[in-house]
């Protein structure tokens, strides 16, 4: 259809500015421009669409995912199964059993994630919220790391490996160096950032120099890091705790441990630590980097269309390397918050706790925007914190959180699906009114 517009536009060569004014013709102009410059790769276009869909879709995706979780909870509940056996005799029983199992599960999820009035005074009742933020801390920084690469049109699936290497670096500094507290914390954190950046940098350099796809390289580096850390944890003198036979590291020295909220306030037994503050700072930093700095502009330009960015004089290969380094550094921060904040008594090879993969879902839910990632990290932190309570009190396996998370992300990645479930209008339906007018131009002219 757009091809038909080109000759019509050609009839008025003295007014080429008109192209800017009529949207349909502008589209035709884009088509012409697209013939001159190569179009951006599909992944860039797809990521842009993910970025541009609205918050309503996110909300609806969360609702659908919780409904899917509710179905899983209900069908596996023995009480529901028993009541369903005589469903046609007394359907009310089945419905009541479903309501009880699902509401019980989600109430305990809420109590585990936000506020539990049964815990007595306010200091204890609010503890679940601090647990949520504790779980959210590494998710936020790791999510920022993935979001950063998304904005450059890349994928960082290697969170697991980067967090493991970062944890090893931070861990090693935390028990083998002795320094006064603030310096020690700083040095251990910097070591983690450097370790993560190094591991991610391998993928960045290989992509820039040899064109190796970063998805494959980062996935493979995950396993390389896992076996490397497993080996070091089994080797006395490397990461293994002295005098121990288990593959576990020694505890961090107190001077390297992130101070907790309880240390600050002097009340309660909150585990929320300095890492959360670092996560907020990282969010602000990434927001500034992407939206206000020239480096961020280059990142986004490469993310929109690397071919155009190269024509504009941006070194695309350097952007790939720098973006992977920064992304790995953010992953490293997540690793630091694990070994210096959450599990300070020594770690094993499972210290990444699946954060590297959760980070992808966090970044997608947050639409790769720093503050979006921040809040989606908190949401997934709440699901994790609540999931453990739900497992303990209702006997519902924590794995259901994985299901809810992945359903959220699948739905968010496919806005047309959510729109068709809820019969929402398409976002680009408004310009349709102009179409009849555009086609009203006699077609004979175009031939």
């Amino acid at each position: 259809m757009s091809d038909e517009q080109i000759p019509a536009q050609g009839q008025k060569p003295e007014q080429p500015v008109e192209v800017e004014q009529v949207p349909v013709e502008q589209r035709a102009g884009d088509a012409v421009a697209a013939e001159k410059a190569p179009p951006p790769p599909a992944s860039n276009r797809v990521l842009r669409e993910i970025l541009s869909s609205n918050w309503l879709i996110s909300l609806l995706a969360v609702v659908v995912a919780l409904l899917v979780g509710a179905v899983l909870i209900a069908v596996t509940d023995p009480a529901v199964q028993k009541a369903a056996g005589y469903f046609f005799a007394r359907p009310g029983d089945t419905l009541r059993a479903i309501w009880e199992s699902v509401s019980g599960a989600y109430i305990s999820l809420f109590q585990g994630a936000i506020f539990n009035p049964k815990r007595g005074d306010f200091v204890n009742a609010i503890k679940p919220l601090t647990e949520t933020l504790t779980f959210a801390t590494p998710l936020i920084t790791a999510g920022l790391a993935v979001a950063l690469t998304f904005r450059v049109g890349m994928f960082n699936i290697g969170g697991r490996g980067q967090i493991l290497i970062a944890a090893a670096c931070a861990g090693w500094v935390s028990w083998s160096v002795s320094l006064p507290a603030p310096l020690h914390i700083l040095l251990a954190t910097v070591a983690a950032i450097a370790g993560g950046a190094l591991w991610a940098g391998i993928a960045g350099v290989l992509k820039a120099r040899t064109g190796a796809h970063e998805v494959i390289v980062t996935i493979m580096l995950n396993y390389v890091a896992f076996y490397l850390i497993s080996y070091l944890l089994k080797t006395p003198g490397a990461l293994q705790a002295p005098g121990s036979n288990t593959p576990k590291s020694p505890p961090a020295l107190p001077s390297a441990v992130y101070p907790t909220l309880s240390d600050l306030l002097g009340v309660g037994s909150y585990r929320l630590h300095l890492g959360f503050l670092l996560a907020i700072l990282a969010t602000v930093w990434l927001w500034y980097l992407l939206n206000r700095s020239s480096l961020g502009f280059r990142f986004r330009a490469v993310g929109e269309n690397p071919h155009a960015a190269r024509v504009a004089g941006i070194s695309v290969t350097r952007v790939y390397i720098v973006a992977m380094l920064l992304s790995g550094g953010l992953m490293g921060l997540a690793g630091a918050s694990q070994v210096l904040g959450t599990t300070t008594t020594g770690f094993a090879a499972g210290v990444d706790a699946g954060i590297g993969f959760d980070a992808i879902t966090v970044a997608l839910l947050g639409r790769s925007r720093p503050w979006g990632v921040f809040f989606s990290g908190i949401l997934f932190g709440a699901l994790k914190a609540g999931g453990y309570t739900m497992q303990a009190s209702q006997g519902i396996p924590i794995d259901i959180v994985l299901v809810v998370q992945s359903v959220i992300v699948l739905l968010i990645a496919a806005p047309p699906l959510v729109r068709s479930i809820f019969r929402l209008p398409k976002p680009d339906e408004t310009p349709r009114a102009r179409r009849p007018r555009a086609t009203a131009t006699p077609k004979v002219v175009t031939k």
Partner: protein, 426 residues
């Protein structure tokens, strides 16, 4: 790499450029050096025994005993000669070391290493080969599925999820019906369901295929772990499928060494032999394969000649899922016998590595799967005989090799041109 030089009066001369590739002589040189180090810097004394037969075999072969230090030294010198030979081919011959040198070198190096590592001990060759095949079967089915899907232009990161869901479906249906054949079909259908989600999201909704693949792995892990913890552990009768019986093939299974390994197996392994051939034959000799490759290499051209690109992709991704599902069934209906939480343990990603290392070719991917299975199995063999090389490094090997492969250090690994790119008809 031909350069044309149009001279003014002279006829056009096609000058053939000789490209010398020094990568393989250098790589072989490094390994030959490692062999020399094993022989002379860290010599192991004693005798190494290779057991060739098990007690169940009809034809008994005597164990193969070699003196460790002498054998390793001779082999190391042979390795050096081979590396020099490869260099000679590059300098004087065609400019490229022939493949057979690399293959012979790899076999000799492996023999050198095993002889050195097992000084004074016994390596059970049949057991090692059986273990290799057992670990390779899911990898090969996963790699075949990956090849089919990626040849059609859809990146399949979800092999892990398809294997896991295949294993899960086979366990449940096999326990309920007691029929391994029905369970096998259920595994294929289960993995195909995962494929349908992958295909629907990546083809209809044009979601990035890597994202769908990664998320599907999380979804399948979550679903199967949830049902495992909630249902299968409380009711173990749902997790006790009837396994396939071992069916020795008369005659063939009596071949020394290889016979028991290859032909004293279950139906699933025999299906694998047929599947490897069928996928190779189908891809390169039939109209189906031509169309599939056309869709993966140049969808616009395929569309122009009347192939429905997205329909072709959709059904081939589904087919790929069914193939991977058989590999999943191998866990629950053959080698393990029941479902376990996250029991595939990264095999899907090794299969993906095999696809890439095998350059998107079914035969090469199968060989890569065997190689990775062998490397994984070698660490357990070396663990038993108390090898000086840490097992973690053997486990790391497939992944490191793949990184080298995609970085172009070991051959050139080039994906189908339209792999991972959705086709939007304009």
């Amino acid at each position: 790499m031909t350069a044309t030089t149009p001279a003014a009066a002279a006829p056009i001369v096609h000058e053939k450029a000789r490209v010398r590739s020094w990568k393989s002589p250098i790589a072989l040189g490094v390994f030959a050096l490692a062999g020399l180090l094993l022989a002379f810097a860290f010599p192991n004394t004693g005798e190494t025994t290779f057991t060739l037969s098990t007690t169940a075999d009809a034809i008994q072969l005597a164990p193969f005993v070699v003196p460790t230090q002498l054998t390793v030294a001779i082999l190391a010198i042979l390795l050096v000669l081979l590396a020099l030979g490869a260099a000679a081919f590059v300098q004087l011959g065609s400019g490229r070391a022939p493949l057979w040198i690399a293959v012979v070198f790899a076999a000799l190096f492996l023999f050198t290493f095993l002889t050195w590592a097992a000084a004074g001990k016994n390596i059970p060759v049949p057991g090692m080969l059986v273990g290799t095949l057992a670990l390779s079967v899911p990898l090969i089915f996963g790699a075949l599925g990956g090849v089919i899907s990626e040849r059609g232009g859809v990146v399949n990161i979800a092999i892990e999820g398809q294997l896991l869901f295949g294993a899960f479906s086979a366990a449940i249906v096999g326990s309920i019906t007691g029929q391994p054949v029905v369970a096998l079909l259920a595994a294929m259908v289960g993995a195909m369901l995962v494929s349908f989600v992958l295909a629907a999201f990546s083809i209809k909704y044009i979601v990035d295929q890597v994202i769908v693949g990664v998320v599907l792995n999380v979804l399948v892990t979550g679903l199967t772990s949830f049902f495992y913890s909630k249902v299968l552990t409380t009711d173990p009768s749902l997790n006790s499928p009837v396994k396939f019986p071992i069916v020795p093939i008369p005659g063939l299974s009596e071949i020394p060494i290889l016979g028991p390994v290859l032909f004293r197996q279950t139906v699933i392994v025999y299906i694998m032999y047929i599947a490897v051939f069928l996928v190779w034959f189908g891809l390169f000799k039939t109209r189906w394969g031509l169309r599939l490759r056309a869709v993966g290499e140049h969808p616009t051209a395929a569309d122009t000649v009347g192939i429905n690109v997205n329909r072709t992709r959709f059904w081939n991704v589904a087919l790929a899922g069914a193939v991977v599902g058989i590999g999943g069934a191998y866990y629950t209906l053959d080698v393990v016998g029941q479902f376990g939480k996250e029991m595939t343990n990264g095999a899907g990603f090794i299969a993906l590595a095999a696809v890439i290392f095998g350059r998107w070719d079914p035969i090469r991917a199968t060989l890569a799967g065997l190689l990775f299975g062998f490397a994984t199995n070698l660490q357990s063999v070396l663990g038993i005989i108390g090898s000086p090389v840490p097992s973690d490094f053997m486990l790391m090997l497939p992944y490191v090799v793949t990184i080298f492969a995609v970085a172009g250090l070991v051959g050139v690994s080039r994906a189908p041109a339209a792999d991972g790119k959705p086709y939007i008809k304009s």
